[in-house]
Symmetry: C2
Subunit: 668 residues, 2 copies
Amino acid sequence: MPRYRQTTVGDLKNQAVQRRKITDTKRTADPATMEVLCGELPEGNTTVFDRYASQQPQCSFGLTGVCCRNCIQGPCRITPKNDKGICGAADYTIVARNVARLIAGGTSCHSTHGYHIAETVLKVVDGKTSDYSIKDPEKLHAVCKRLGVSTEGKNDEELAREVTLLAFEDFGGHREEPCRWLDTTITQGRREKFRNCNIAPTSIDRTVVGMLDQTAMGQDSDPVNIIFGGLKTALCDYTGMHIATDLQDILFGTPYPVATEANLGVIDADYVNIATHGHNPTLSEMIVEAALQLKGEAEAAGAKGVKVVGICCTGNELIMRQGVALAANKASQEMAVLTGAVDAMIVDVQCIMPATKALAECFHTQFITTASQVKIPGAQHFDFREEDALETAKTMVRMGIEAYGKRKPELIRIPDVKHAAVAGWSTEALMKLFAGVEPEEPVKALNDAILAGELSGVALFAGCNNLRVTQDESHLSIVKELLKENVLVVATGCSAGAFAKAGLLTPGAYREYGGEGLQRFLDRVHEASPTSTGLPAVFHQGSCVDNTRAADLMVAMAEQLGVDTPKVPFVASAPEAMHEKAVSIGSWCVALGMPVHVGVMPPVEGSPLVYSIVTQVAHDVYGGHFILESDAELAAKQLLDALEYRRWKLDVHRATAEKYDADPAASW
Amino acid sequence: MPRYRQTTVGDLKNQAVQRRKITDTKRTADPATMEVLCGELPEGNTTVFDRYASQQPQCSFGLTGVCCRNCIQGPCRITPKNDKGICGAADYTIVARNVARLIAGGTSCHSTHGYHIAETVLKVVDGKTSDYSIKDPEKLHAVCKRLGVSTEGKNDEELAREVTLLAFEDFGGHREEPCRWLDTTITQGRREKFRNCNIAPTSIDRTVVGMLDQTAMGQDSDPVNIIFGGLKTALCDYTGMHIATDLQDILFGTPYPVATEANLGVIDADYVNIATHGHNPTLSEMIVEAALQLKGEAEAAGAKGVKVVGICCTGNELIMRQGVALAANKASQEMAVLTGAVDAMIVDVQCIMPATKALAECFHTQFITTASQVKIPGAQHFDFREEDALETAKTMVRMGIEAYGKRKPELIRIPDVKHAAVAGWSTEALMKLFAGVEPEEPVKALNDAILAGELSGVALFAGCNNLRVTQDESHLSIVKELLKENVLVVATGCSAGAFAKAGLLTPGAYREYGGEGLQRFLDRVHEASPTSTGLPAVFHQGSCVDNTRAADLMVAMAEQLGVDTPKVPFVASAPEAMHEKAVSIGSWCVALGMPVHVGVMPPVEGSPLVYSIVTQVAHDVYGGHFILESDAELAAKQLLDALEYRRWKLDVHRATAEKYDADPAASW
């Protein structure tokens, strides 16, 4: 079976045939998306599924990473006959450089997000905006404690300023100490490992710039040095993300369990539907507030009110904190427009397909961009500023209300597919859940269940939709396998979206999908610390910028167990990694010591050496490694094997009372 | 005629045929390089000229910029039939993103260089190394004055620390004001333009990271926004480079005219030859010192002494400040090894072809890397630290002395080609030259000559060797045309190297190549301010990191003329732009208002819109633009036309006493 493609365009003669073909080859496992896909498309338009097919076959040099465009003498391509680029760069150099630059790209997205949140906090404490406030002083104090910021005699605003200025120091500035958000959130073992291997970053921005420098023409050609530089850059991704999550929690509240619904069926034809899409809650939180305030105007326009629905990670932010319904994950964003009932789509940053805007033009849907670094020709652009955030949000929502009156009823087709969902499982919320059983040290409840063999371990599901594979399918099939084998699963981003859309977040779903041990464990903790929402099969931890919540959980497990993170039965899977952000997240997961499954092949196959660095050498040095496997069944098996191996090592470790700080790398 | 390739590999059956083919198609205009190229190659080896031929035909998607690999769902390629990527990105989005990321790459190289120099200065003033000292207090005071740093009662170390800490603020940190090294070195008109257009960066590193963020999947799809973001990034390139040049001058001395020689013939078989290659003078200055100190050891080994020769921009740094002979520019770096008489090649950063190391293995040549971000598998690596710089340098030179005894005499073939050269023409040196005529305001001598029609204007020649064209040829043919038409030419980098190797830097060469006006002007200024070295035809201003010297000259001209920079008869040409650094340099030259010729097509042809943005829209907004022309004759004509147009506008301006600060963009 060809690894990268399932359909080609050769025989797709016209759109009708294309549409049939798409259903034939089952491009999606999401019945709502499938229903919309099988319908009519406005003439001349395409969906992401069509465009993926049209791009087949994709360039094999790009797919395997052996095309270099890092100078304008190129492109150079490596073939068996031509084993060097013009400068003499070999396959391993070119592949390593390309991967490292993907990591730099992903890190840039997350850190720019984090930087923006830090700027927002500063505006709040400086009184430049009254639309936001510090909603979670408890989290603020917890972050202060972790950073060593004295809280005595200081009010929340003073503390938040101090924390934010420390965050800016992690982004830039000339320091010799590792970034604080990294250094204060990991184990002592990791701190030493990163310092000894010279991959502890002192500044996010300087490290990213250094990575571009290292991978430029005539610079590094040593693949180990380049890939390890990539891991250093990925630790900056971790740092910037952790800053983003902490400050977002402080500003908007740490998420706790909340009940809602998911999939396209949440779009309600009786309401003005405002779809928020992107990643940054500073915009979407205001949209939710504006929607509430403008209910009257919507009613005057003939609607029952304004309904905000979420797409992609803005959806994940809102489902976590506001219980706003999630309409779609990344590959279904166009489907929301195709329902004909989205009156405005308001977007901020990341994963916004320009095609979604093009499609909106065929409907009454207002398409609104809000970030200076994300403009789409032809879209209505607002320069969204925190200083007048709510007013701007109201203007945008009013555009939706106005558009509501211009709907084309004949184009409305909302699939009747949605599932109840309980989200909001920050690590704090999980600890609260575990605290019923272990009030003093909540994470002990989890570790004990693993040590007792009741649970097999913990898995983080993360990442995107990638059109190379059937949408959501491998997310679902791998997770079901793991749940059956009693793995506690946390999820973020479009992976969490896939689970929400498919009903795995429905209260009580763990009874349907979980093995006996998992059911028993969840029953026990829920009985000791009941929630009003009930428990899902998969615990939604937030958007893709929130992946450090899972890392925090792993670190807490490690510290309670008295081992370094590579010994914790904790794995990660990104069945449909797509964005550069997924590459950087996966890389810091590896540096933290996780076995990380990726279900679509990243561009490393062009160099057996680089392939071995990321799948083996990384493990020898850091205790984590990549599992590159596109077959869902094999992937699940490998993840379970990795958990089993760690449980076995943990038993050995406990039996011999070995100390983790004396742990040589060879013993991972 | 195909635009991008001159030879293909189809008919190159074996190495002997390849070698003949190379001479047939005249891959180089440098007789020394040609002589080496026509000789034997160690079996199984290739030169950059062979590898360029082997890479033909190059991928047209990459060449024209319409291949997107910014997520791992791709690569996507735009064709007439497939006009959108999987996400819906159009040709203009993909091309703009790729160009912007090239600029980010180039900026990263220069700013990392500048950052390293700043760290070195800090080590010097903190007493962490005694191998370096502040050699140019006059420049230090000039920089302090420009930055508004009070010098009263402070010693050089205190001032240098203050300046360096300000430099670090330009790299990172949360500030709202534009970078100081940009803001204090440009005209008031540019300051306002950059602020009004929102492209004045406040931090180098954050801007680069922001550029990667802006060009990631699902981010910006507006090509104007992306390209103008690219210009903002390019202004960071300017800022980082200016910091590098200023601090290098403070640490190693501002260059003044110095006599030396250039081309492969400077390698002397009687000496231990140490080739220094790369870009950063912190290493090479120590090598020069170590070579002096180890003369005795070299003599004991049977040589006449140790001779340091320069390659690429390390060569340019050394030729400018030490009068060290220049052996080769970028495309000839392998030829130095092929002479068989280079005993050690010591490299630092940038433009170091891995192939040069591979070739060194066939000889006795020691290949030594010294920078943590530039390792080459198999090379001897030293962790070069300023703290014990001279000692490390001595160890490396000793490796060369030891290798001297292992030469293979039968492999030695040094072309008897070299030219006398006078280098060291910093803008300060030029001003000193002009001061003979105009002691109060030296630049007036230059401006008056232009206004009087004696000179046609000033041209900066910069950039690399690019194998797509015959090495050095268009540098030489365009510059000769301009000199004939009385253009004062300054040059940097491998362009300056090409001129040095071809005798255009020979004292008195302006008489051979200059038009009557240029000869008269240079005679006059030299008579008023004689140098011991004599004057060349082209004024060497340093390595590629030193291009802001030319910008300083242009700004001085603008201020004396009372106009903004886009009205100054000043053009730039990069006949063989190759590195990402060349793309970023060219872009800030455009933002500063220069017409910038590039002789090899950058990857913009895939989008007529982006092509028009860089060649036309940029001019409307900033007064500068790219001239993309691979024909040397046409390029020279367009550069001369641009100068003529500006002289005419200047006459109009002066006639109408128009004020530059009231100058609308439309009047560029």
